[in-house]
């Protein structure tokens, strides 16, 4: 294996592919958290998205239905969370944890009959350009549409939060639900929408794993990516662009350390495996240490139960 220029291109392309589920799930969770909702059910929603996407693909043989269905299943399961926390005023943390445990269990049960079934090839875009341009080809081309969407998403999220009226409303609700309610904003509705959107993105992130990244169903195949996505949101101090950077670093070091293990570096494997977690946290802490900015970006009401005076 030589470290020539086209190999590096392929490497970067695979790093991008591996960070897609993190970007999708974290961007969805970011919107929910910006509205003041702390949903720890990311892992559960992702795994439900993964199994329902795969199952629908097997049953209908239609990838479009599978992708849309995985997002819908994310919406449905996040609706449970929304109903519990927003309408029944349960504790965000406990409910989110329950959702994750529920999701993992349910997906294992639903997925029993789908183990070992081979996946279907997902169409990739611009595959001819991938081969013909050295270095940039494998980076820019030959990916699924979901990857392009994932890489646009942080910028769209940033634009949404900073430039649009609805984004302003979401931030206002996260800052002070009481004030927002007194201004006539329907806080519960806004939070429901943000939760459901987060659910859809987590569902899509799961489907990316089971339909595109490793096209098959394996029990517990999200393997903690939901938790990484959650941590990314916090360490990126609720900034979508920093979420993207964090996801790339995490994906990058995960892939690199695998190669290092393969090459046989004289570094303990355990340390290499821990490296992605360590480096992501260090880099994000360093790039977001401006305490003033943290204060301004942090949703003040995060995780707090809001109820309307009657």
């Amino acid at each position: 294996m030589s470290l020539d220029i086209s190999f590096i291109g392929i490497l970067i392309g695979s790093i991008m592919a591996s960070s897609v589920p993190l970007i999708l799930a974290a961007s969805g969770e970011l919107i929910a958290e910006r509205s003041g909702v702390l949903n720890l059910g990311v892992e559960g929603m992702m795994i439900i998205g993964a199994i329902s996407g795969f199952a629908l693909m097997v049953i209908t043989d239609n990838l479009f239905i599978a992708i849309v269905g995985s997002m819908l299943s994310g919406v449905i399961i996040s609706l449970i969370f929304g109903f519990l926390t927003q309408s029944l005023l349960t504790n965000h943390v406990a409910t989110g944890l329950a959702l994750t445990i529920f999701g993992i269990g349910l997906s294992a049960m639903l997925g029993k009959n789908f183990v070992g079934i081979p996946g279907k090839e997902f169409p990739i875009l611009f595959s001819s350009l991938k081969e013909s341009i050295p270095f940039f080809g494998p980076i820019l081309f030959g990916h699924s549409i979901v990857l392009y969407f994932a890489f646009a998403l942080p910028f769209l999220t940033n634009y949404f939060l900073k430039k649009t009226k609805l984004g302003l409303v979401v931030r206002a609700v996260g800052d002070s639900p009481v004030s927002a309610s007194n201004q006539g904003i329907n806080v519960i509705l806004v939070r429901y929408c943000c939760i459901l959107y987060g659910g859809a993105m987590c569902g899509l992130a799961g489907a990316y794993l089971s339909l595109i990244y490793t096209p098959q169903w394996i029990e517990n195949m999200t393997a903690g990516r939901g938790w990484i996505a959650l941590a990314l949101v916090v360490f990126a101090t609720w900034s979508p662009i920093k979420v993207l950077i964090g996801a790339l670093i995490f994906g990058g070091i995960t892939i690199l350390q695998l190669h290092m293990q393969a090459i046989g570096f004289r570094i303990p494997v355990q340390f290499l495996s821990a490296l992605p977690y360590l480096m992501t946290i260090i880099v994000l802490v360093v790039i977001s240490r401006d305490s003033r900015k943290i204060k301004l970006n942090t949703p003040t009401s995060l995780g707090r139960i809001f109820y309307k005076e009657k």
Binding site: L168, R171, G184, K295
Partner: protein, 499 residues
Amino acid sequence: MATDLRISNISKIYPGCIANDNVSLQFKSGKIYALLGENGAGKSTLVKILSGVVSPDNGEVFLNEKNLKLSSPLDAKKNKIGMVFQHFNLFETLSVFENLSIDATEDNESLRVRINEILKKYNFSIDLDVPVLNLSAGQKQKVEIIRCLLRSPKVLIMDEPTSVLTEQETEELFISLKKFCDEGILIIYITHKLKEVLSLCDEVAVMRKGKVVSVSQTQNERVETLANKMVGQKLAKIKKKINISKNKDEIFKVKHLNFYSDDPFETNLVNLNFSVKKGECLGIAGISGNGQNELFQILSGEIITPDTSIIFRNKEIAKLNPKQRREYLMAFSPEDRISQAAVPELKIYENVALNNFKSSNFFEKGLVNEKKIKEHSKKILSDFSVNTDNVELKSQFLSGGNLQKLILGRELITAPELLICYNPTWGLDVGAINYIHETLIKINDQEKSTILISTDTEELLKLSDRIAVIYKGKLSKIMPSEEVTPEKLGVLMGGGSID
């Protein structure tokens, strides 16, 4: 066009408390109306009903004889009822402009033009692009007022607007309110400050225990008559005799107190130096948010600052934590009774036990000596006339006044040499305030010292022997209180100078 607002037979009952009991009132534009009452008299509930935040159990609201259905804040907005809440309804992390644009229907450019027109017309100076958390309380209030004005309101309700303002800002506010009134906006002014009613308002309705007890022209009222209507009993006047104690020993001395923080919500303190004599009350005035929180935390030992020297009874204590400082006979009463001074979910005796000394033997071999703590708590309840003798009661069920008495009792029963308190009467009613003031005066009479950090100038003038003003983390020179007037304090509190 003239506006006529009528509320008819409004009732609102909360579990265990009748907030509004058959309230009927009538307001007409061209006048400023005062709604006067103690805390818990039902004023806030009434304005919440008018602004659509809560719905009444009974009764109706008419605007120009049209029956209003006020089931949400949107309804109040649609009917041109504007409201400035006591606790601002702003989004601290959003910019001023974002705060104003959130419910606007027009595009940003024309909104900006309209805001600038309002700023110009009423002489407000506010930077529209800074986050609200960087504004002073007076500026935040102006943002709230602008938000109402943008919707060209017929009715403007102000809930305790001056509680966070300096004398100057208060005057500015009054000038603006009179302008609004001349422009035909009906103004309802909620307060428990009697002088403001007399200087600003045309008509005054007094509320007590959920009922309207009187409606009258302010020109026929005086401070005393209004006070008696509000409290419902004659109040004894208390006045402190000033301790002219030039030759007394300095018991507490602070040198080079500096505090620096990155946190935009905190204030830096710059080179504070002061001392307190035996039996003296040192008052520290200022608008909240000028460094009082930080000062209190440094004096109590919650924050340790390097290079600061704090001498108490000839010992250096700057590096000691609150518990160690208490052992040296200092005592503290923080501003926030619920979250800082007491744990609301704990029972009274458990809260008492939180302030334990080696000598008090509340704990033996790691176990709680319940009997001893309960006896001690009973003594506090009776000595400080808390209106319960049940030490098993959860502290959250005490009213603000009784909780404050309990906290002061817990601190004072050990006979400390120095008590540091921060806004001890904040949000309390007149009766409880009187009791607390008497207690604080008694401490000084017993040759013990107090530091009173307060945002209430009247309280400071009544209790302090010397007064200094804290503004943006800097302390003014310390003045004997007989040389201080409310006007002087106001100038200093607003950042002016008086020399």
